[in-house]
């Protein structure tokens, strides 16, 4: 069953095409990651799906509903943590949960939710005294109050220290285990690899790659290669004695052999042994998602898309192009 269907979605702010004709679907129970540099259009996309922004073109169905038209209905079924989650300063996480439960008219056990997001110890601390990680956990807790089947987490770990990030991951894994569908935006690739079943990499309003992280690496990465530490003569020797594709990195004194099949490694090593020359460390390597990401995402991140999505931000709105 599909939780989300997006086809040819478009959104522009003035001349800036924040989202320029993207399509994807998300299955129920899936953790789907939207990756991309700042300004790629992730937040705009996610806010359109949440019904917080109106689209300019294309079709969006979230849990079978048009999010902009049926926002009120949809919001009862989804949970959301917006980017940089904030809440009333002098309200504790526990009170916040009770508040949300009242608003949604549901009965919840606040302690259970606090436990689920690992926030029991700070249950009675005012929001403005919480750490960044605890604030995000409060956001997670609130997004769970209405027991949503679908969760939108917009950069849930941005700005957090490594321990806090791991704690959030743990919570997200727990939610996934309970069968929730989760849409996650992040610009941390390790986060996507750790948590997501499938990812879409966005850049300048387009999806430039989509699939499982392995699929993306396979499609867009350079493939597996064998690296042998040694002299250039050895590289030449292997090249002339096998039909392998061999390159040499002088700076690192590394011989790079592309492996079309795993067995190619054996041939390369046999040739090296045969040469009688000395060689050092060997390892096989594959492009990481990082490598692929850098390749796919054309330019260093610009902030335009981000800005346009934050119309109220004074600093940004000055720089925004119209």
């Amino acid at each position: 069953m599909l939780s989300i269907e997006v086809s040819d979605l478009k959104k522009h702010y003035g001349n800036l095409k924040a989202v320029d004709g993207i399509s994807f679907t998300v299955k129920s129970g899936e953790v789907f990651g939207l990756l991309g540099p700042n300004g790629a259009g992730k937040t705009t996309t996610i806010e359109i799906m949440e019904g917080l922004r109106e689209r300019d073109g294309g079709d969006v169905k979230v849990l079978g509903l048009n999010p902009w038209k049926k926002g009120y209905e949809l919001h009862k079924k989804i949970g959301v943590i917006p980017q940089e989650f904030t809440f009333f300063e002098k309200t504790t996480p526990r009170e916040a949960i009770v508040y949300y439960a009242d608003l949604f008219n549901v009965k919840v056990n606040p302690d259970e939710i606090l436990k689920e997001v690992l926030l029991e110890e700070s249950a009675k601390v005012n929001f403005d005294s919480l750490s960044g990680g605890q604030k995000q956990k409060t956001g997670l807790a609130l997004s769970l109050v209405n027991s949503p089947e679908l969760l939108f987490l917009d950069e849930p770990t941005t700005g957090l220290d490594p321990n806090a990030r791991r704690a959030i991951w743990e919570v997200i894994r727990g939610l996934k285990a309970k069968g929730k569908t989760i849409i996650l935006t992040t610009h941390y690739l390790d986060e996507a690899q750790q948590l997501c079943d499938r990812v879409a990499i966005m850049d300048h309003g387009h999806i430039v790659a989509m699939g499982t992280t392995e699929e993306i690496i396979e499609q867009h990465g350079s493939g597996e290669r064998l690296e042998i530490h040694g002299e250039e003569k050895l590289a030449d020797y292997i090249k002339s004695n096998t039909d392998l594709q061999v390159e040499y990195n002088k700076a690192k004194r590394e011989i790079l052999i592309t492996l079309r099949k795993k067995i190619d490694a054996l041939a390369a090593l046999a040739a090296a042994e045969q040469s009688g020359m000395e060689w050092g460390q060997i390892q096989t390597r594959q492009d990481s998602l990082d490598d692929v990401f850098v390749k796919l995402v054309s330019e260093p991140a610009t902030e335009q898309g981000e800005m346009a999505s934050q119309e109220t931000d004074a600093k940004n709105s000055k720089k925004r192009r119209r």
């Binding site: 926002g71 919001h75 959301v80 940089e84 009333f88 009242d102 608003l103 008219n105």
Partner: protein, 376 residues
């Protein structure tokens, strides 16, 4: 559609947060009381204060049968409720003396006062005054009054007339009570706090929540913007009533104020906070960021703080400012409170309530219409 339960839960969270924030509590409740104490102390008995008048008596007599009419005239003036006479040595240069004492009000009694009075010859009092000062009117009025009284006495004596004065005046105050400045100050300062507390708070909240995307977040819950605003209004009504009781209490117990507590005040204590909460939200909504919102908020608030009859009665202002005051929504709050608490003018109060109700409705509808949970 509108749910009381949601309003109540939002109210709970908001009021708790408010009470935990000492700053807000200070401005909501403590500050108005401090204002009452300060202004009450400054003007305590202010309206019963007498005007100091310098008097130079050049009357040299003779005084037949020991009758010193000029001294009697000054004694009468000094015994009046409006003037305190300070005698100046006849050898002084009077106008220089006034200037040296930074004073503008003075009387000079001519040398032939007693003689001329007794013999029925015209005599001339010189009254000094600064036409721009409100005290000069009091002085010339009082001196003129006593001059007439002495004139009348002269003729009664001359013609052996025993008829009492045709027109006599019984002194009385408005509302048959002793009205003091504090009595006018209390409604004014209640109006002041009805304006400032919800206004500043809502300007701030609505622009900050927009910036921090808290509104977006709330839009993802079943809470509606109308419910959100309603809960803020209810809180400021509660706060206003608490502030009202405190201020009236301090006014009565610390300064012996005489103000009427009537059910006619209730509409102002409800409509007032509603109006300014909505107006604050409107300002926060139509402005781009908290900084602009603050500036616009001040531009809207400050004229009302001083020109809508809070600290000074409107009637003491020039005509064009009085006209301007009528476009300030707070004017109808302070005027209404004064009508109800001080003058007991109920028909005036009802008009003020009606005008206030209409303004509140318009601002409320505008605020809710223009206010956006989410963007497009």
């Amino acid at each position: 559609m509108v749910s009381g339960k949601r309003i109540f839960s939002d109210f709970k969270v908001f009021s708790r947060g408010y009470l935990r924030n000492k700053f807000g509590l200070f401005f909501g409740l403590v500050f108005p009381v401090i204002l009452i104490l300060i202004f009450g102390a400054i003007f305590a008995g202010g309206s019963t204060g007498k005007v100091n008048v310098y008097a130079q008596n050049l009357d040299t007599g003779p005084f037949p049968n020991g009758q010193n009419i000029s001294a009697a005239f000054l004694d009468q003036l000094n015994a009046s409720s409006t003037i305190t006479v300070i005698t100046v040595n006849p050898s002084e240069n009077f106008s220089k003396y006034l200037a040296d004492h930074s004073a503008s009000d003075g009387i000079v009694i001519p040398a032939n006062f007693t003689v001329n009075y007794i013999t029925g010859h015209q005599l001339n009092l010189t009254v000094y005054g600064n036409p721009t000062s409100s005290t000069s009117g009091i002085v010339s009025g009082t001196v003129g009054g006593y001059a007439n009284y002495f004139n009348l006495n002269y003729f009664q004596t001359k013609y052996n007339d025993t008829t009492p004065a045709i027109i006599d005046i019984t002194p009385a105050n408005v509302n048959t009570q002793q009205t003091k400045y504090i009595d006018f100050l209390i409604p004014g300062l209640i109006g002041f706090s009805i304006l400032t507390s919800p206004m500043f708070s809502l300007v701030n909240i609505s622009s900050e929540y927009k910036k921090s995307k808290l509104f977006k977040q709330l839009s993802l819950t079943p809470l509606t913007k109308m419910e959100w605003l309603a809960s803020k209004m209810i809180w400021y009504i509660v706060l206003t009533i608490a502030g009202f009781l405190l201020m009236v209490g301090v006014g009565i117990f610390a300064f012996g104020a005489h103000v009427a507590i009537t059910p006619w005040l209730i509409p102002f204590l409800i409509l007032g906070p509603m109006l300014f909460a909505a107006l604050g939200m409107l300002v926060g909504t139509v402005t781009k960021n908290p900084e602009t919102a603050g500036v616009i908020g001040n531009i809207v608030t400050f004229p009302m703080m001083f020109l809508a009859g809070t600290f000074f009665p409107i009637s003491s202002m020039p005509q064009y400012l009085q006209t301007f005051a009528h476009v300030l929504p707070l004017f109808y709050v302070t005027e209404g409170l004064n009508n109800a608490m001080v003058y007991g003018n109920i028909s005036g109060t009802i008009i003020d309530i009606a005008v206030l109700g209409i303004i509140t409705l318009v601002i409320f509808v505008l605020a809710v219409k223009l206010f956006k949970w989410r963007e497009d």
